[in-house]
Amino acid sequence: MFGLSRGDLLLWLFVLLLVLAAPILLNPFPESSALAQFNGGYPDLMQRFLIFGIFAIGFNILFGLTGYLSFGHAAFLGAGSYAAVWMLKLLTINVIPAIIVSTLVAGILSLIIGYISLRRSGIYFSILTLAFAQMSFAAAASVGFVTQFTGGETGLQTALNDPRILDTASTTGNIPAPSLFGLEMRDSFQWSVGDWLWTFNAGYYVCGFVMMVAFYIAIRITRSPFGMMLKAVKSNNERLSYTGINPKPYTLAAFVISGMYAGLAGGLMVAMDPLAGVERMQWTASGEVVLMTILGGVGTLIGPIFGAGLIKYFENIFSKINESLLHQWFAFLPDGVEDFFVAVIYPFVGKGWHLTLGLSFMLVVIFLPGGMVGGLTSLYRRIFKKSKQAN
């Protein structure tokens, strides 16, 4: 159905269900409990799960299928963001043109960067993409001509006196918030049941809709003849050319598609929060999406989404745990033991969350080459096989 196999359709529906129910699923702890810290169900964070999910799904089309590891995808994220802010400023505060144009602008930029970088493969390709991204970063930050479009170090944001040629002038005297035909992205509906509080945010569901479409397209690409050629590029590029296929346009197409996904993610960030800064083009953002993809499972369909969610959760929740909170948790232990536990755990939380991330990344790379999703699949297979043999 919809051009998907039964298994893929079920997978897509499973993700849809998670997206729809996330505001509830991610807030499992009552508001007044000590564990409410770990609730991830607030709009800002949930939007980021989805947006980085899109970024990682797209990245996986390049890295997971063709094996080409780009270290420069932040350039497309940033370009998409800038383009989106300009659309909000010049055209309309409606987010649709912003999202579309951000995707197209990133597509054009990735065509140029991809065309040149794909003249090399392996580590040289990675370094070329990194170099291009750093050039874009430097240009956006401080090259006079370019800073007219990027706002340099200050960045870009919407303002009251923006032209917005398609909109009627604001009458309230406030900067209008990004909206979808009048529905503001920051609008939320809150629902409290007992001590639980759930927030259903308009922007989150717009992101959810876009991500489900992006995910659907990614499944279709993966299951197409084109997708099979991309896997063949990864498996044996040279053999492919002796088979009558020119691998170059395939790889370039994958690069542009993944660049467009990055641009779309950048555009959505702006649609949720109408500003763009040069840090979005920094190499750390390029590295982050690599981590997400590998952690979740390179080449798997939903791995990147989980990887993105996990890293964003770590970043936002783990980083909040501080020393006094730890003392509170371990208060039931005798003093000396309490101090010991706090001393051992503290480096891994709060500002040290990167340490935990690094450790989990190492563990995954060493023990689960297929990432979390790959690990779960092989575990499932092993159990399934065992029970089959027992029969």
Binding site: G3, L4, R220, S224, P225, K231, N236
Partner: protein, 252 residues
């Protein structure tokens, strides 16, 4: 029937080694032409010159009137020349079926096709074609197996299926039965014989197994130290003195 492949005066030097020395070869259309010779004679090097893996220092290689020198490997394939390599070159991470569907798609769609939204499941014709060839070659019970987990002999047969599915005008086979069991070798002989007859595919086959050579070949060229020393009918090769010398003296 005319000639399918005309090789004239091909030379190739690797540093101080003259790997190919003024090689001339004419392969008649629809025939099976064997190239034999001791290890290191330059047989694989010669095939590399046909498909764009190596560029000869001089000489011409004409295929049905088209010059194969100076065009890229995928262009060589698209004019109808498929090759099976000496060390199996397959898509190791993909399934057996996918390995054969890829060349089938290349044959139908050309060097590039942006069919990213078309489900592979709907490519029933391509799938059927691939399954048929795998059936001919005896791998139909391994369709979903990952290619890397197959035996060496099976990998060779898979690569042969990859070549055959393209219905090439010229099929280049570099030691197709090396590493195969007797039974698989006999099966391969049957398959190649059948295909050569039914589809009139021209074949060049490099082979050390003389049983295979003498069962299949319509004509044989003997290569030694980069030079074609004899070219003749199979029955005349067996007793040829030069050939025996090349094998005894040449196999260092």
């Amino acid at each position: 029937m005319g000639s399918a492949l005309e090789v004239r005066g091909v030379n190739k030097r690797f540093g101080g080694l003259q790997a190919l020395n003024d090689v001339n070869l004419t392969v008649e259309e629809g025939r099976i032409h064997a190239i034999i010779g001791p290890n290191g004679a330059g047989k694989s090097t010669l095939l590399n010159c046909f498909v764009g893996r190596l560029k000869p220092d001089s000489g011409t290689v004409m295929f049905h009137g088209q010059n194969l020198l100076g065009i890229l490997p995928y262009q060589v394939n698209q004019v109808g020349v498929s090759r099976v390599f000496q060390t199996p070159e397959i898509f190791a991470d993909l399934t057996v079926l996918e390995n054969v569907m890829i060349p089938a798609l290349a044959h139908r769609d050309g060097i590039f096709e942006m069919n990213a939204m078309k489900p592979l499941l709907k490519e029933t014709d391509i799938r059927k074609k691939a399954v048929d060839v795998l059936e001919d070659i005896g791998l139909h019970d391994k369709l979903d197996m990952t290619a890397s987990s197959m035996s060496r002999g099976d990998k060779r047969r898979l690569e042969m299926a990859m070549g055959l599915v393209q219905e090439p005008k010229l099929l280049l086979l570099d030691e197709p039965t090396a590493g195969m069991s007797r039974a698989d070798t006999n099966n391969t002989i049957e398959v190649l014989k059948h295909i050569s007859k039914s589809r009139a595919i021209t074949m060049i086959i490099i082979e050390h197994d003389m049983h295979v050579v003498f069962t299949l070949a319509d004509r044989i060229s003997v290569l030694a130290q980069g030079t074609v020393i004899v070219e003749d009918q199979p029955e005349n090769i067996k007793g040829n003195k030069k050939v025996q010398e090349a094998y005894l003296g040449g196999a260092h």
